[in-house]
């Protein structure tokens, strides 16, 4: 499993691997919003947590179809399925790599980019915390969607349609916690709900994803 992790990280960093793609998209969204909304700082501060969360979510979505598709096309997935490694473990590694390549950079960059949306110091802190807790769920749910559509050519659109509704709870609680934090209110309830979604996704979805892949490989 460590070997798979190292290989996938190496692949994502090399040419055409897609590292930084999500980050660049996130940057562009955050830069464009003030142009669209106008320079009113009060409005920007208010919408900042929601916009940044939606931006992070869409950036995650952008690279999902690569999670299994490339391995499926060149036959690696067949060979991995016959290798002495449980498919659940392979799915976990794939989700972890997706998070390391998109979720983690987004989380680290979000407080910096939040400056463009005039978010205060406290808001930046809670944005960072909610993204740190919430983005693993985005990667895990997205990996599940990718596993469901792995056999389909050009399944990207279907993947988005499948995954976006599943992202709704994460978005609601993540953005809500970040908004409350930026306005100085108590964040405990939405933060716990967000953590619960992440824990549940990480605990259950590897099994569902592995089953979906096995069926798709038949």
């Amino acid at each position: 499993m460590i070997a798979l992790l190292i290989r996938d990280m190496r692949l994502s960093i090399r040419a055409g691997g897609g590292f930084g793609l999500g980050l660049a998209f996130f940057l562009i969204v955050t830069v464009l919003v003030p142009f669209g909304v106008g320079p009113d700082t009060a409005i920007l501060t208010r919408i900042a947590p929601g916009i940044l969360w939606i931006g992070a979510l869409l950036a995650c979505l952008l690279s999902l179809d690569r999670v299994f598709q490339l391995d499926f096309e060149d036959g690696t997935l067949d060979l991995l399925a016959t290798a002495p490694m449980p498919m659940e473990g392979a799915v976990m590694v794939k989700a972890l790599v997706h998070w390391l390549v998109t979720g983690l950079p987004l989380t680290l960059a979000a407080p910096l980019l939040a400056t463009l949306l005039h978010l205060g110091a406290e808001g930046k802190f809670w944005l960072f915390v909610t993204l740190l807790i919430g983005t693993p769920a985005l990667s895990m749910i997205g990996t599940f969607g990718a596993a469901l559509t792995v056999g389909l050519k050009r399944g990207g659109l279907l993947l988005s349609l499948l995954v976006l509704p599943l992202y709704v709870p994460t978005l609601i609680f993540g953005a809500e916690a970040a908004r409350r934090g930026s306005e100085g209110m108590a964040v405990t309830t939405p933060l716990l709900m967000l953590a619960g979604i992440t824990a549940g996704a990480v605990a259950l979805l590897p099994f569902a994803s592995a089953a979906a892949i096995r069926i798709n490989l038949r």
Binding site: R7, D71, D74, G75, A83, L217, R218
Partner: protein, 208 residues
């Protein structure tokens, strides 16, 4: 060690393609699988490798003893030859690639990205993967595609060395590899696609 297949039936896309497949493969033996295009050779091999469940029948050996060499080599074009092979060696827990690189004459290509290899060189790298799996039974699906005569001989030598060391190989191929091998023709095992019994099996499979 013995791979005994009894009365196996397999389907492709819900349509039964083979039934009543029975053969035995013991250590030190090579079995050549023959049959016209579309007769179900790949489906049979995928079933034995554990990638799809059989409709009926038994396979005596668990998929954990089997190394499967598919049509696709599963190479990553941005990784070098050595990195590609090293990955599979680590996955299978053997970690040693020097012998496999030597046997398939890949040593001088070690640092080259797989994207710059010729079709035959890619195939050799794909076959070298079998050596690093350390598994006793090789299932090979058209292993000599894109190989020149010298490489086919290199491959045959590798198979010979493998079976001499107590391994076994089941090879679906149309060419003569020059191996001491039994031949199993699956043409006689073709299933009737409309047979009622097989359709019931497919129906049950959908609701498992």
């Amino acid at each position: 060690m013995e791979l005994a297949v009894e009365n196996l039936a397999v389907s492709r896309g819900g349509v039964p393609v083979l039934e009543g497949v029975s053969f035995t493969l013991t250590a030190g033996q090579v079995l050549i699988l023959r049959g016209p295009n579309g007769s179900g050779k790949t489906t049979l091999l995928r079933c034995l490798a554990g990638l799809q469940p059989p409709l009926a029948g038994t396979v005596s050996m668990p998929p954990e003893a089997i190394a499967y060499g598919a049509h696709a080599d599963g190479l990553k074009s941005t990784l070098s030859v050595a990195e590609n092979l090293k990955f599979w060696a680590n996955i299978y827990g053997t970690g040693e690639i020097t012998r496999a690189m030597n046997d398939f004459n890949l040593t001088h290509l070690g640092a080259r990205p797989a994207t710059n290899l010729s079709a035959g060189q890619k195939r050799r790298l794909g076959l070298a993967r079998l050596l690093v799996t350390g598994r006793p039974v090789w299932l090979l699906d058209e292993p000599t595609v894109a190989l020149d005569q010298a490489s086919v001989k290199m491959f045959a030598d590798a198979v010979r060395a493998h079976v001499a060391g107590g391994g076994a190989a089941l090879i679906a191929t149309h060419i003569d590899l020059g191996l001491e091998a039994a031949i199993f023709d699956i043409g006689a095992c073709r299933a009737d696609p409309d047979s009622g019994a097989a359709l019931v099996g497919a129906f049950d499979e959908a609701f498992e």
